[in-house]
């Protein structure tokens, strides 16, 4: 197990280039704590898999260094990095039995039969594969095959880190949940450094102590699931995390007063020295918006109710203020009549973004 450090890593698939647009990964610096559980979250094509392959050595970065416990491994081939990686689609050795599949990484490293056997049996029990141990792997279902892939990743106890590249994509939802808790359990038990790539936010937020959000080859925020939800540092994180995502609406700003289309909102913080030509946006989670009946004079923004989606425990209300659309999450809609309402902001959870970056003001 090891601390993994990335120093000024950048990668371009077309080789070294001066043009920053050629880079799938733009310069990033990051340290993964020994024994931490991390999630790499971001939309498809944002460079998550590239980053993972650089850590495992399947790719050599165009620029920068990879360090394991302060040892430079940038040029070291995958086999010598002692790292485990699990891929999106099951990779199994067709002609081998489940047992042989699981034992393969140990066998290649010259472990004896006496060492291998108890370990394989223990792991197979954990993954629920024990009754298929001696059948050929190719006859199993996709679920079971992916369990074998996971097993081959988890079989070595001394690995520097385990990398997961969207490993649960092909798995049934019910089993997905089970395997995820199983992984968490193994993490607690053995203290592996785990890095989990996904584009599914629930998966990232439930798995990881710390989430790294990537967007177009750059890291936009590193933080706990809570921080990502409460104070997204970039509007992209606001959109991407949460369902529905954060409401982000252009506004004008003067001290602690924000105006959206001429309607004023009094904020809890005061913002000074905002550049004149900057793009200013107000961001608020649907969970921190409320609707009040239209007759409550003077308070909130007068909005039109466009649509109500009842999704069980709560309702998502889409409201419009002229051209601007807000999503509001409410558990109860009692007292609301007609299709107009007043929109109220929870000002302690309302953020201001200047050129897509979060800014902090002075407490009033």
């Amino acid at each position: 197990m090891a601390k993994v450090t990335l120093k000024e890593i950048a990668h371009s698939y077309s080789g070294f280039s001066e043009n920053p647009d050629d880079y799938a990964l733009k310069k990033l610096d990051l340290t993964w704590r020994d024994g931490g559980a991390y999630a790499l979250l971001g939309p498809s094509g944002c460079g998550k898999t590239t980053l993972l392959n650089i850590i495992s050595g399947l790719l050599t970065p165009t620029k920068g260094q990879v360090l394991f416990n302060d040892q430079d491994v940038t040029r070291l081939p995958t086999e010598q990095r002692n790292i485990a990686q699990i891929f999106q689609f099951p990779v199994i050795y067709d002609t081998m039995t489940v047992f042989q599949n699981l034992a393969f990484p140990l066998k290649n490293r010259g472990r004896t039969k006496e060492e291998i056997e108890p370990r394989v049996i223990e792991l197979a029990k954990m993954l629920g594969l024990e009754k298929d141990l001696y059948t050929k792997a190719q006859h199993l279902t996709a679920d079971a095959k992916q369990k074998i892939s996971l097993g081959r990743g988890l079989i070595r106890q001394s690995v520097n880190a385990i990398l997961f590249d969207e490993p649960l994509t092909v798995i049934d939802p019910q089993l997905k949940w089970e395997l995820r808790s199983q992984l968490k359990f193994l993490h607690k038990k053995f203290g592996f450094t785990m890095i989990y790539v996904t584009h599914d936010q629930t998966e990232a937020l439930t798995f990881a102590d710390e989430v790294i959000v990537m967007y177009e080859g750059e890291i936009v925020q590193v933080g706990t699931p809570e921080a990502l939800f409460e104070r997204p540092e970039h509007t992209f994180v606001g959109y991407f995390i949460g369902s529905p995502g954060m409401n982000i609406v252009p506004c004008r700003l003067q001290g602690h007063r924000a105006t959206i289309d001429g309607h004023e909102i009094v904020l809890s913080q005061s913002y000074e020295n905002i550049p004149v030509d900057a793009r200013i946006e107000i961001g608020v989670r649907p969970e921190y918006l409320r609707l009040a009946p239209p007759n409550s004079e003077g308070e909130g923004l007068p909005v039109q109710i466009i649509k109500v989606d009842d999704i069980g425990r709560y309702k998502i209300v889409r409201v419009g203020l002229n051209e601007r659309i807000f999503n509001v999450v409410m558990t109860e809609l009692s007292g609301m009549t007609g299709d107009t309402a007043r929109l109220l902001f929870d000002i302690d959870h309302t953020n201001i973004y200047v050129n897509a970056q979060l800014i902090t003001g002075e407490k009033r």
Binding site: Q88, V91, Y93, P105
Partner: protein, 294 residues
Amino acid sequence: MIVKQTNQKAWFMVLPVFLVVAFSAIIPLMTVVNYSVQDTFGNNQFFWVGMDWFKDLIHSERFHSAFLRQLMFSGIILLIEIPLGIVIALAMPKKGWGVPVCLISMALPLLIPWNVVGTIWQIFGRVDIGLLGHTLASLGINYNYTQDPIAAWITIIIMDVWHWTSLVVLLAYAGLCSIPDAYYQAAKIDGASRLSVFRYIQLPKMQRVLLIAILLRFMDSFMIYTEPFVITGGGPGNSTTFMSIDLVKMAIGQFDLGPAAAMSLVYFLVILLLCWVFYTVMSNIGEESSNGGA
């Protein structure tokens, strides 16, 4: 009471296929069957002889030796072409400008007509004017495929390897290209050696295309006619008289229609049987589940 009538019109839909198959396979085959149970002395007069030709054939020394020669030939070229084809396919580049260059140069021998291939090697190997034959002769090596049976065999085998290994290469290469990158990546992660990658990833993934390659090469080599006929004409002596050459000698050279027909049928059934055996054995290789542990 309503009787439900079965619509029999659908049979007419099958008729075109039936006619095509009848003219392409059934009628020609039945003609051969017809010849194989009769004897003729010319003048279009035929006599019923029953199974006599088949009995003769089974006890015929000539048939036995032609059959053995044929088996040996197919065996040798399979043993050379399949491994060689796999090795070349493994060595071929997976991307870049080398891919089209390799593919085209591999496809070239396959585009040359059989008798042209025969002629090329016939001249190539000649001691008086052929590049190969003359060079070997000036090096003091006694090589003359018109007199020495071993030289004749070597020439024909090398020619077949030259002509057909690229078919195996192309099939094996197609099989290799269909293996997703993730398998090689996983093998690196698992610390597998180059040999293990071949043994556990590449070979199993190539199994289906190799089955096709073996079947095609077996059938083709078992029926080989044109090239040895052009190069050696079956000689020296009878040393390269393979089954098809023998058959043609019998049917057209000696005009023994009955025995030739009987031999054709046996020949056909042998190919069918051996192909079935190959197919069954090879598709079972990956299927049987082993019960061993680590």
